[in-house]
Symmetry: C2
Subunit: 384 residues, 2 copies
């Protein structure tokens, strides 16, 4: 295991009925900007619960934060925060609303020019408006980390930043929010969380049995509980286990002291930027290609994944790796996510564009930083 530092001060408030605690967790006297997305919170009762719980606070609302939140939209919110002297941001929504809120928090306090630099140049975030979150969709893990991904429509760029400063002070996770989610969002959440774990696990061994087994614990739980949630959206216990899995998948814990990949995310972001494909669906497309093209580098971990998560013990190493990749594809497709580019109407033109874009960047990706434009082409061509 490598040396590491780990600190995660986010307060998790988990369980049915817990949204009522939102007010008592916001500093007294705060002026709140309540951020939300497309308006589902008005239909599922979350808005009413939140409003009842923050009675007494001065509240301004900012809705319409998109999936893959737009820089252009978020900069409008920054103006509101400044004009209204907002002192606390309350994100009520899924990972996109929360990612967007994190960018609003950082951009408002950014003193060194255009806040886009936080994303494009990884300009350090030295200050941010404090954030609280009421999560309405388990998927991204954003509720217990300092990560944010933002899309600039104008330039079709999807970029990320990370800072301890934008970790929520608290996140409220009430699994009952899942009861009214559309099937597609649940399916996306299952695959998103699954691939978050894979990005921190499916690399090369560094003798880290705790991290490995925790990762496998989350994968096994997603494989078991995800389909139960899809089959019966009001199965509270399955919803709770799925929701806690998604948080644990990306709160940093399983990634300490181990190599990390993130190739599927880096390539997937481009598919979202060019075609607007849901984030999780881009991961379902790209990951099997990464597993196949990088099977030599990832050999030991592919075999371990096969044995411990998919129960694959028979056959020689190459056969077991083939079965491990196929089992992963089958799982994604079983929850309703197609895994090939043509399923989404994406052609070789897009592969060319993505490879060109990676050619212009100086860095390579993957746990060994050995994946450049040529390997990316192979990965994407594997998904045709």
């Amino acid at each position: 295991m490598y040396n590491f530092e780990y600190q995660n001060p986010v307060k998790i408030i988990f369980g049915k009925g817990e949204i009522q605690k939102v007010g008592e967790n916001i500093p007294a006297g705060s002026k709140i900007l309540l951020t939300y997305g497309g308006g589902s919170i008005f239909k599922n009762g979350v808005y009413e619960q939140v409003k009842a719980a923050i009675k007494g606070f001065e509240v301004v609302e900012f809705g319409g934060i998109e999936p893959n939140p737009h820089y252009e939209t978020l900069m409008k919110a920054v103006e509101v925060v400044k004009q209204e002297n907002i002192t606390f941001l309350l994100s009520v929504g899924g990972g996109s609303v929360l990612d967007g809120t994190k960018f609003i928090a950082a951009a408002t306090c950014f003193q060194k020019g255009d806040p886009w630099l936080i994303l494009s140049m990884k300009a350090p975030v030295v200050e941010a408006i404090p954030i609280g979150a009421v999560l309405t969709l388990p998927a991204t893990g954003s509720e217990m980390n300092g990560n944010s991904v933002v899309t600039r429509v104008e330039t079709t760029e999807k970029l990320s930043f990370a800072s301890q400063k934008v970790m929520p002070l608290f996140s409220i996770l009430d699994p009952e929010v899942i009861f009214s989610l559309p099937e597609k969002q649940v399916a996306n959440g299952i695959v998103d969380a699954f691939v978050h774990v894979i990005e921190q696990y499916l690399t090369f061994p560094v003798n880290s049995p705790i991290q490995d087994r925790f990762a496998e614990s989350i994968l096994m739980t997603l494989v078991e509980e995800g389909p139960k949630v899809l089959a019966n959206r009001t199965d509270y216990e399955a919803a709770a286990n799925f929701m806690w899995s998604a948080t644990m998948a990306l709160n940093g814990l399983i990634g300490v002291g181990v190599p990390q990949d993130w190739t599927s995310h880096m390539i997937g972001h481009e598919l979202t930027a060019y075609h607007g494909i849901d984030h999780a669906r881009t991961l379902a497309i790209v990951l099997p290609g990464v597993m196949h093209i990088k099977r030599e580098l990832k050999k030991d971990k592919l075999l371990q994944l096969g044995e411990r998560v998919w129960g694959i013990n028979d056959g020689n190493a190459e056969e077991r790796i083939d079965m491990t990749i196929q089992k992963t594809i089958d799982f994604f497709e079983s929850v309703g996510l197609p895994t090939k580019l043509p399923d989404y109407g994406v052609s070789t033109d897009t592969i060319d564009k993505i490879c060109d874009r990676f050619k212009k960047r100086r860095f390579k990706i993957g746990e060994k930083a050995d994946i450049g434009p040529d390997a990316i082409r192979l990965i994407l061509e594997d998904r045709l």
Copy 2:
């Protein structure tokens, strides 16, 4: 899974050579009380590393904190903190030094009478001197929680308190400290961490697959890596995995949303109070008795433990439970901890005294709060 709240802001700094970071993690201008135990830090080089890393700070030293730290000793340290206007406590030692330092931190700021009330009456801790830790012995998990256990020699009482206020700001975990540990301390640490997991796991099922699997992950890792550390104290990788297991065993994570037991600890504390038996050894004695006497209540989890950790799949339920208990006893004895009362020269007199003491207390113990003096007698008599 039950509703829960979880927050753990301790910054973990993990790995070889990391003790050098202690100074940069202490607030500038702090006046430090460096607390330590019996002086092993002068022999293993840790004292020199720490002193080099905190050059420039004003430092007062307070040594001699005992295993099972004594209230009487700690109150002397409180006097030093007050007289010297100490603003930061740096614990350099194992769990006992850190537990003692937590009590010093809370007792110094306690305004409502005798600080013993923090332990005897669970008087709330509203303020505490900030703490940092350099851990020299993996075992108690104290480095990533707000728990503390203190012994009052005068009354042979061993009591605990818990508060977010005494969580360390940071804990430095350099696995190389294990290289010079005596075999007995390593063995104690393995069993201590193992039983910490068991207290949060071996209860009754509440459909919490993430918590269960994380718990089993830690148990399996302790069973694998513990003996490697005992066999070769300078196996850095095994030492690192053991150290991280011990921290994860009691940082609260595996205990969220699930019932907890702590019977073995409650009874074990009495054995330490009366006979001075090492904490971990009391657990090795008591746990098998708890498993046996509470086998009906714990049936499902005993079977799960047997299957997932000890690989027991054959036989009927009662046979598998017997094998699970025996495997646990065998593991404790294989690392060098005897598991019967007579091995420690403890007779039935002590059982009488312990049962009398529990009779005077109003509460019962265990995950169902159904273990009173009679059940405690059965548990201890099982260990004769």
